[in-house]
Symmetry: C2
Subunit: 483 residues, 2 copies
């Protein structure tokens, strides 16, 4: 089996539906953990794709996510320093855990290439040694070609009680010292501390990484055998075009599928499951304490980022942006400051941030849903203030870029240019607005904002109206194919 | 001595030059502790004046402060629910501690009324039992009439090491059980813990309250005798009008005066100093922990104010405004969140907030100087954002109020009305701007913003220009007599 043949059949399936609530307030429902740039200059999902590109062409990478989030992920990926604009998006009609999501991906990929091997990967992990990882993926791909459902088992480095484990069984026929591989004896749930210690000592247990490699056909066959209900649901998707996956109709069908993980629904019950032990510098970036693990510390063990003035703190994570954060005498604390929300908790309570998020979610609070600054393919906007009947934004448009030709039913907009030059389309007119000039867009008027210049265009937009939500927008032309 | 005669001669001197750095970020250089409304609906200085009004007519109350701060204090006092618009302002040319400040006040008041008795009071304390306090002041005034320099000695309630103490000597001739009064044996510096315990046990030591009562003439005579240098400085102020006290000339003269407290310079050396023991529900509101002492606690001992979501914290102070603050599992912590800055420290480190402020002061940081929202006699403004060449504010004008007729050399202003109706003067034109309409003020153009309506006027102001500081303003007419 040549490498080139391998490549032709290899597909990436990036599971990116997660909301990453444990990273609030850095993450939001519409800016989840996989989009965070905390751990580098690009997002975690960008790095996840970058990491597998030596094995998988960009065109064969699919992101599985919900329709709203897919828009944000696309914006993130096409605006990266190395833009990924050829990856595909598979819309999960509804979050139903990993078995239905992987089933959908397998259905689509198998229809394109019956010999396809899928690398199913979480979108939000960190891997420090990508070459070892790629070598394991290659090995896994050859086992997958041979019909195995392959999992990567991470060599445990501590008696972790927060992960599930995989107990290895007999070596496979394909096992070698250079390329170890075992049949899976069993999957085990998150252990207690004592059991986790035993697992660590034994050398027979590995962390379940959530990374799976199998042929699309193999997993579909196993779904048919072990989850016939899900298989029936998937068959009904054959009648739908990809564009219809986000529809209400698709949702109705998909909601009949059992909400189950691929581990529980298939892997624990199947007999041809293999595990490849891997020793990776890996993290699932499971809570805000990961910031303390991956970012540079000062002499007192603090990670300090942003506009922070600290006196005499120790072993703390103090993470801000441009707002001033002052800390004094903290020990083992976490302070996370964003434009619209601040979190303070002891380091050992980071896992419980979910409790805060649950309250916010119940209130449908904006601080749970979105960030103040939202990135768009053409640039970004920042909400400065909102109040009864008005909303104020700073809008930044990249040189040469333009927003869609659009209209709002319920609001008018005042634009004041504070940097650069704007080309404005308003109804039938097209005119330029320079620094320190302003213009006005009445309601129900088609308009477009464009940066014809060489430097970023910045405008202040004051919106007035009875209804000021982002969904009051009718787009008729868009350079970025948005609707 | 009749009460009415007493009243005629009684003057309030409120020392209000303090910067209240220990209350940062709630306090700022231009919004110091005495202006905080944290402990009630009005500021601490408003309450300080309100408290003595049964004894001192408003016209006989003088605020001693620096010229910039005096403007802010006046705005605060004339916009209170009961506006104090008749109090006088004495500008300290430079902060030189209490002896020179009190000397200046005595000089002025004695020139008006040679029989004047001065109640010299800090501007930023809390007194829970104002009637007991007034009764002590009356008693003190009669002793002051008899020539004593009177201090109020607070009955200690704990072995406090942060205050100076006064040891009482023999009872005065004027002493009675109902109205106790003693000669002062001596002033003592802040004691160590053990000594403080002894002071508390002995019953002979009282806290030095910083509240003094004497005739203007008496203190001037004692200054002449004990601080002849200061007396010479004061004499040179006789040649200056009150308006000139803020001038460079006054500053040059005043800086020759020794920077000394009235305690050290006069009271510790004088022989006719009396102390009246008082048992007041008093606080000097010395640090942020005072919030925990005076505001209502929840079942877990937390004081929680503002847009806060807390889970499982104990004995903590979590004080915010409308930005979201989320806290989880804090114990004995302080979190203070304001629009532009957040402070986090353990409760027992509140005294050290000064360390943060020192850093900010050295950087001349805006977060040390001013709040995002600044109150003005006509309403208020809030800075939303500033960047290179632009500044965005929300301006709120009270019904019937108007800003000064003014001009800026270096900036133009775009105004968008978001609520109410604006009457705009621009050069020779006067016109109304309604909700959702905008106008533009070019540089070097006289203009005025007015609210002719019955509801608050709110506008968004976008300033453009090379220089956007608040001091680029030329006022030609002002309803509030500002320059």
């Amino acid at each position: 089996m040549s490498d080139s043949k391998n490549l032709k059949n290899l597909y990436g399936v990036i599971l990116a539906g997660g909301s990453g609530t444990r990273f609030w307030p850095l993450s939001r429902e519409m800016s989840p953990k996989q989009l965070l740039k905390v751990f580098g200059t690009e997002s975690l999902i960008w790095h996840t794709i970058k990491r597998i590109l030596p094995l998988v062409p960009q065109e064969q990478v699919y992101i599985v996510s919900n329709s709203k989030l897919a828009v944000e992920i696309r914006t993130n990926l096409i605006t990266g320093k190395e833009p990924f604009d050829k990856v595909g998006y598979l819309v999960e009609p509804e979050a139903r855990n990993t078995a239905p999501a992987i089933g959908l991906a397998a259905l689509h990929i198998e229809s394109i290439n019956p010999d396809a091997v899928m690398f199913v990967l979480p979108s939000d992990h960190i891997i420090g040694n990508p070459e070892d990882f790629l070598s394991s993926l290659k090995h896994a791909a050859s086992l997958a070609q041979a019909g195995y459902l392959v999992t990567l088992g991470l060599k445990p480095t501590r008696p972790e009680t927060g992960f599930g484990y995989i107990k290895v069984g007999d070596p496979l026929a394909e096992h070698s010292t250079a390329h170890p591989a075992y049949i899976v004896d069993r999957f085990v749930e998150k252990p207690d501390k004592e059991t986790a210690e035993q697992y660590l000592q034994s050398g027979e247990y590995f962390w379940n990484s959530g990374m799976f490699i199998f042929k699309a056909k193999t997993i579909l066959d196993e779904i048919k055998r072990l989850m016939p209900g899900l298989h029936n649901t998937l068959l009904r998707f054959k009648e739908l075009s990809l564009d219809e996956w986000g529809s209400e109709k698709a949702k109705d069908i998909f909601c009949e599928a059992e909400s189950t993980s691929i581990d529980y629904g298939i892997l624990e019950k199947s007999s041809n499951v293999a595990v490849i032990p891997v020793d990776l510098d890996w993290s699932d970036v499971g809570s805000l304490t990961a910031i303390g693990d991956f970012l540079e510390k000062d002499g007192a063990g603090n990670v300090i980022v942003g506009n922070v003035i600290d006196a005499e703190s120790k072993n703390s994570i103090i993470y801000g942006e441009d707002r001033l954060v002052a800390t004094l005498g903290l020990e083992d604390m976490i302070v996370i400051d964003t434009h619209d929300a601040t979190l303070v908790c002891p380091r050992n309570r980071a896992q419980d941030v979910r409790k805060i998020v649950d309250v916010l979610k119940a209130k449908n609070a904006e601080e749970y849903l979105v960030h103040r600054t939202m990135h768009r393919p053409w640039g970004c906007y920042t909400l400065l203030e909102r109040g009864p009947g008005f909303k104020i934004k700073i809008i930044e448009v990249k040189p040469g870029a333009r927003l869609s030709l659009q209209m709002h039913h319920h609001r008018s907009e005042h634009w004041v240019v504070i940097s650069g030059t704007a080309r404005v389309t308003r109804g039938e007119e097209v005119f330029n607005v320079h620094v320190n000039e302003s213009t006005f867009i009445p309601p129900s008027t088609m308009h477009r904002l464009e940066n014809p210049g060489m430097i970023p265009l910045k405008i202040i937009e004051v919106q007035n109206g009875e209804y000021l939500e982002e969904d009051d927008i009718v787009r008729t032309e868009d350079d970025y194919a948005r609707r």
